[in-house]
Assembly symmetry: C2
Homo-oligomer: 478 residues x 2
């Protein structure tokens, strides 16, 4: 296997594709647009799952599993939903050798079937709120696909909740957006901007969609997680009703929110460099790799013994791997683990044994700059600190990069220029036609109206010059 | 909700169906034969997953995710496999509004697509063994369905491994059977008999299938987990080849092994009683429930405060719930948690506060027999011991029940009688025709030739009287 990648500046798309394959995160499946998530990629996803699941449970949610197959007629029940999703459905028409009376869709998302079940389960205000999440796979028949970012089948979690009041549902929608924001920043070291989607970009069937938007290493935007306030749209479509404290029948208010394997794409594109992946320490499948260095057989035995002792000590607290492959040189191993983005490399050789030291190399600062020589004594604490430092450093670097590529253009001419290599944070009148024209002319779409943004009062739409309603982000996006 | 169930002796099937619904483990989905696994059922499955996953990782396996959709032509590549699975396939014929050039099967199991990927990944003996497991959903178009036991879609894990030699693959197959046996006994308190399937009962495409067989509360058998030695069948069908140490191209040897949500059915039917579920303590979603008992408002405040303190203490070590619902009587709550099978109930009232005690009730021994009064001091240790005791007691009870219902009939007349309400452990010549006749005449099928069984030497086939080759179990089965 050759480790050499195209450089990011030269060909970002090819750098990404080759990196995903060479680092063995994923591979192409025999069916067009489908992927295989390989063990190293899946281990990353398992860590993402664990970090999110802990947060979901801490906010009172429980997991369940709803069926993969949904009657086609269910999609018809919510007008915007069917328009949004029916072009993307994979349809099962035959089962057990026979043609089905009603074709079944492979779920593209589960609002409909979960709405149907909630209508069955929810009777009284005492049954509310219902706070259920599902980890699973969904299928959307996409035409242009890219590993992790857009595949026919992908993996995600979808939360679906039902509440007695609009206020509670809205609060839940925002709470889960906060959970995603907290996860992105504090687990993945990915800076995100939480905000509201415009009408044209919202989820099909939602009243209001919230998003966290992240800037990738090529300055394009990626919608990294979404949370939807569904109002009573699905409650009315599926008849989710409850008796309130006054014994009156009321429709429930629902939400849904999801984060998918797409987020792995964000991690790759935010942190990766020309040498390969740079895994954020808290999610890294392997946090520390130990590479033993020796020449003679006698050295080998001694060094491996010490390396294995260190491995055992570190394993109490970290995900650690000792690379004891005897057919590869240390140099090859260094490259290999750099490609895979392991945050910290521990090197140990005969001289370290004598001195009671090891060399530590930081993946986020390859070369001399990131290398230190530290005592073996207290190594667990040293590495714990170093991992935190790497986390913070990755976050700060990504934040600085993002801030350097967000512009406030003075006019539409400048707008057109800045969105070629960055985001525009600017004013819009709120007219979908301006939004559509901007998209057609520049390929930049509205990303979000930030929750903590500037007022648009007294400003003019960057496109048409009419009074602005919003100040929001525009960018080319994945 | 009425808690009353039909009794097990009266109508075991109805007892089972109503219990699954009333305990809110699962519900029927709108598509025939599909189920919704509700939060309480899914929490049980998550505990099963964790207990198994830990064992898989300890034996060197890693997780990955392979696609849901498999080209139909893949099934044709292995002759027995296509015969076994093509009648059960759900088929996607349309995607994105268009008819597909080649229809896709929703995976019923993944040997084919994983074989295809292994052929791509495995080049040299250094790449072996490949030890991958997948947690996911599969679809088999079954005609007669039953919640958890046989549903169109179900959840499982499927391990798929590739090895350099037949011996290693066979060893892996047996190792995973041991893992399932250990899990069943030590986590689920379900006694199982590990053994080999006959030719007619083996997995479609396997050389040899191993199984763990459990006896349900109605004496029927349930195949609770299987491990298959696939020989080179799939390696040849998908061209999984590697260069050995002598640079010779060799076919790999593969295995597959799986355990599914079916196992939840086993837990229900092995341990449950007329009052409802009896959860094995190590897998129970809630291990301890605390029911506060009070009459006046003043008592309520005091008791709830103490109950919450105890909850916090217990939560350090157990999955615990404080039932503080104020619209229900303690009696109602007792029944409710008995229905749901929580292993230990802690009752605390005003008199306990004064004495510094609580009452403990064991779910496996409802009524006076299982009730003790213990000090609040040291409660964590008391309960830890009690949970172990309940685990052992459940296992011993199930084992005694099974042993009491295994018979060694002296002739075929007696055989026909014993398999009406138990298993026959008896002799067979090995002729598939005898096996088929027995099945047609009695509905009893061969369950397994036990790994640690008696010799058949010198004995005669229970059906035809010719010399016996095997001593094995026959039973009616789910």
């Amino acid at each position: 296997m050759s480790n050499s990648l195209p450089s990011r500046s030269e060909n970002f798309a090819e750098w990404y594709n080759q990196l995903v394959l060479k680092a063995e995160l994923a591979d192409y499946a025999p069916v067009r647009g489908c992927m295989v998530v390989r063990p190293y990629g899946w281990a990353l996803w398992e860590n993402i799952k664990e970090a999110l699941d802990k947060r979901f449970k801490a906010t009172g949610h429980v997991n369940a599993a709803f069926p993969l197959l949904i009657p086609m007629s269910f999609f018809e029940k919510e007008k915007e939903h069917v328009e949004g999703f029916s072009p993307e459905l994979a349809v099962v028409t035959h089962g057990g050798g026979e043609k089905l009376a009603e074709p079944l869709a492979v779920r593209p998302t589960s609002e409909t079937i979960i709405g149907y079940m909630y209508a069955k389960w929810i009777k009284s205000w005492r049954d509310l709120p219902v706070l259920i999440n599902q980890w699973g796979n969904v299928v959307r028949w996409e035409l242009r696909t890219k590993l992790f970012l857009r595949t026919l089948e992908f993996y995600w979690q979808e939360g679906h909740t039902a509440h007695a009041t609009a206020e509670e549902a809205e609060e839940e929608t925002r709470r889960m957006l906060d959970v995603y924001t907290d996860f992105a920043i504090n687990e993945a070291a990915v800076p995100v901007i939480p905000g509201v989607k415009t009408e044209s970009e919202k989820f099909a069937g939602a009243v209001r969609s919230y998003t966290i938007e992240a800037m990738m290493g090529d300055t394009k935007a990626l919608q990294a997680g979404t949370s939807h306030f569904l109002g009573q749209n699905f409650a009315k479509a599926f008849n989710i009703q409850y008796l309130d404290k006054n014994n009156q029948l009321q429709y429930a208010w629902t939400t849904s929110w999801g984060l998918s394997t797409r987020f792995i794409g964000a991690i790759i594109m935010v942190h990766g460099d020309d040498k390969g992946l740079v895994m954020p320490p808290r999610l890294a499948p392997i946090q520390v790799v130990i590479v033993p260095i020796y020449k003679t057989e006698a050295e080998r035995a001694e060094v491996l013994e010490a390396a294995d002792r260190i491995r055992r000590e570190l394993a109490e607290r970290f995900r650690v791997k000792l690379d004891d492959r005897d057919n590869l040189t240390p140099g090859y191993k260094f490259n290999d683990w750099e490609l895979r983005g392991v945050p910290v490399r521990v090197e140990i050789g005969p001289r370290d044994l004598a001195k009671g030291t090891v060399a530590l190399a930081r993946r986020d600062k390859p070369g001399r700059e990131g290398k230190t020589f530290v005592p073996q004594e207290g190594l667990v604490d040293t590495i714990a600190q170093l991992l935190d430092e790497i986390h913070n450093s990755l976050y700060e670097r990504a934040l600085a990069f993002r801030n350097a590529h967000i512009h406030e253009p003075k006019d539409y001419e400048e707008f057109k220029e800045v969105v070629q290599n960055g985001w525009a944070y600017t004013y819009w009148c709120g007219d979908p036609e301006c939004e559509a024209n901007i998209k057609a002319e520049t390929k930049a779409t509205t990303r979000c109206i930030p929750l903590e943004g500037d007022s648009a009062e007294g400003h003019k739409c960057i496109y048409c010059g009419r009074p602005a309603k919003y100040k929001l982000y525009f960018a080319k996006a994945y």
